[in-house]
């Protein structure tokens, strides 16, 4: 009798206590690691941003918000923020627009087998190291010897400067990262397209609604939650761009591709100003929190949910 009872309701009396304790014990290792590698660093980042000193000094002096003042008065930092925002805007808009178009195209019933092969190829760069993708495009985009310019020349165009000029370098890096990341977003949007119930389209088919209208009036609203989500993911991943900048340009030419994380890295390790680097880190943190918060807000209001 009592045995049956425990079988139905195990969380009972003494058992309940034990159960609770076990819950804590099992979660403890992960909790400790997350506190050590996420919570503590966030707190320390904010704390350290209020101090001066260098990488080696044990007791840096308290400087209050001086590091932030220095940042906002620095023209370099303005440039870095602008670069990061422009880069993010180009990358996110290009990626999402292309991904929606390509996903809808590959979702159509025409040439199904080819659709699958195309999707396999589009996704490939996503699992390749940014190191190799960046190095490869450094070679492809070489302004004198690169393959891309040889194609442009063969078609009768002048050579493009790509990474060699401050006017085109940031855009070139954005193009490379769009190429690399596109497949992932196509994949996510295709998954959303596949989840649209087919009966939604039946009414439109009966009315003979033009395809483009169906796309804008039915398909797009139905996948809007995914578009929002992918935009947020793309925005955050663009904000933290580092590897490609570090390998392709090192922030140059003339600071034209210096972005926020690269700036933080350089200020900490090259210029030995960890306080200022941490202050810039706090600004990145604020950006990431703001975007995540915005996602929550917007997704509650505007987006169509079934």
């Amino acid at each position: 009798m009592s045995r049956e009872k425990t079988a139905v309701r195990p969380a009972y009396g003494k058992n309940e206590k034990r159960e609770r304790l076990m819950g804590y014990i099992l979660a403890a290792p992960a909790v400790i690691l997350l506190v050590v590698f996420t919570v503590y660093p966030l707190i320390y980042l904010i704390y350290r941003s209020l101090f001066g000193g260098n990488l080696i000094a044990k007791d840096p002096d308290f400087v209050g918000i001086e590091n932030y003042q220095t940042l906002f008065e620095s023209e370099d930092f303005h440039k870095v923020l602008t670069n990061t925002l422009v880069y993010t805007l180009i990358t996110v808009v290009l990626t999402i627009v292309l991904a929606v178009i390509i996903a809808s195209w590959l979702h159509s019933k025409r040439n199904r087998k080819l659709n699958d092969i195309t999707q396999t190829f589009i996704f490939t760069p996503h699992i390749i190291s940014v190191v190799s993708v960046s190095t490869l495009f450094l070679w492809l985009m070489d302004s004198k010897m690169g393959f891309l310019n040889s194609v442009l020349n063969a078609l009768g165009f002048d050579s493009y400067t790509f990474l060699a000029s401050p006017d085109t370098a940031l855009f070139s890096i954005a193009l490379v990262m769009v190429w690399k990341g596109l497949g992932y977003y196509v994949l996510l949007i295709m998954a959303a397209l596949q989840n649209i119930p087919s009966n939604v389209y039946e009414a439109a088919e009966i009315d003979d609604t033009p395809k483009l209208r169906t796309f804008f009036k039915i398909t797009l609203p139905m996948i809007s939650p995914t578009i929002l989500f992918t935009s947020v993911v793309a925005t955050i991943s663009s904000f933290k761009v580092f590897d490609s900048v570090s390998i392709m340009t090192g922030g140059g030419p003339l600071n034209s591709t210096n972005t926020l994380v690269y700036y933080i890295y350089e200020y900490a390790y090259r210029y030995g100003k960890p306080g200022q680097a941490c202050a810039a880190g706090v600004i990145l943190l604020i950006f990431v929190c703001a975007i995540t918060f915005l996602q929550f807000k917007v997704s509650k209001k505007r987006v169509y949910y079934q």
Binding site: Y24, P41, R48, V130, W139, F147, W179, I247, I264
Partner: protein, 279 residues
């Protein structure tokens, strides 16, 4: 009229095929160029306009990579880090996910919030404090520094929790009647039921650790602990002559294992990434 529609449709079909082939070429050509360059002679890489294929493949370029940088050491380090992260993380994330799905306690929402926070905050924000911490502890240039920050994989906890929630509680109750301990139930009963999730998590973390550049760049300064992406990036700087054939050969060593994995398990990998994106 019908005849005209048919012609129009045929035309559209050809356009559709051509468009998709162009897309495939755009995605695949850079990889072809990497392989082609890696097999050229130095002289061939200096031709402009470049030749599409090497006259005869220069396999010795790969040997030249091994002479320029200690690739073997980098490769071993990469494998040690990737395999350790993949295996050790299960010891952390399986209990955490099990706790979050099948136990009741007061701080559970807080633990869950912590996991979500971990998922939200990128390492590009937390790296400096962790660098200071590891410096103070003398952990710079160690495998520990490359492995530990990744084994609490918040995405893994989140995904496993979803899977555990779907396992009916009756299964656990039945095991409890047999007097199985919590730990035994977790490893012997629950884990086998969520094998697909474990594979997905393992695949994703292997791929991301294999490709990781940012973290080992900050945590290592000696060849003894550098991983392959760092080594290959150094090759570009180490090779002062900018021998693109050698640089591309080196990069192929970094790329080929991933391409091989993708050829073998393309659908599985894509499904894993879909899951990581949808949640």
């Amino acid at each position: 009229m019908k005849e005209r529609n048919k012609v129009l449709d045929g035309g559209l079909n050809i356009l559709d095929i051509v468009g998709k082939l162009v897309l495939i070429v755009v995605m695949a050509f850079p990889f072809f160029w990497m392989i082609s360059t890696a097999l050229k002679t130095l002289g061939e890489t200096l031709l402009y306009p470049p030749s599409l294929l090497p006259e005869s493949p220069q396999w010795s370029n790969f040997a030249e990579v091994f002479k320029t940088i200690p690739v073997g050491q980098y490769l071993v380090n990469s494998l040690i880090v990737c395999v350790s992260v993949v295996l050790l993380q299960y010891l952390i994330i399986v209990p955490a996910a099990y706790s979050l799905s099948k136990y009741d306690y007061k701080a559970k929402p807080l633990v869950f919030a912590l996991v979500m926070l971990g998922q939200m905050i990128p390492m590009q924000i937390t790296f400096l404090p962790i660098y200071f911490m590891f410096s103070d502890l003398g952990l710079m240039d160690t495998y520990v520094a490359l492995i530990i920050p990744f084994i609490s994989n918040p995405f893994g906890i989140f995904m496993l929790r979803q899977y555990f929630l779907q396992v009916p509680s009756e299964v656990i109750e039945a095991a409890k009647l047999d007097n199985a301990s919590d730990i035994k139930i977790m490893f012997k009963v629950m884990m086998p039921m969520v094998r697909p999730a474990l594979v997905t998590i393992g695949l994703l973390s292997f791929i991301s650790n294999w490709n990781n550049y940012f973290w080992p760049l900050i945590m290592t300064s000696q060849d003894a602990y550098r991983t392959l992406p760092i080594g290959i990036a150094l090759l570009k700087d180490a090779d002062t002559l900018q021998r693109w054939n050698i640089i591309m050969a080196g990069n192929l060593l970094l790329v080929l294992p991933m391409l091989g994995l993708y050829v073998v398990a393309s659908r599985k990998i894509r499904n894993a990434f879909v899951y990581s994106g949808i949640k």
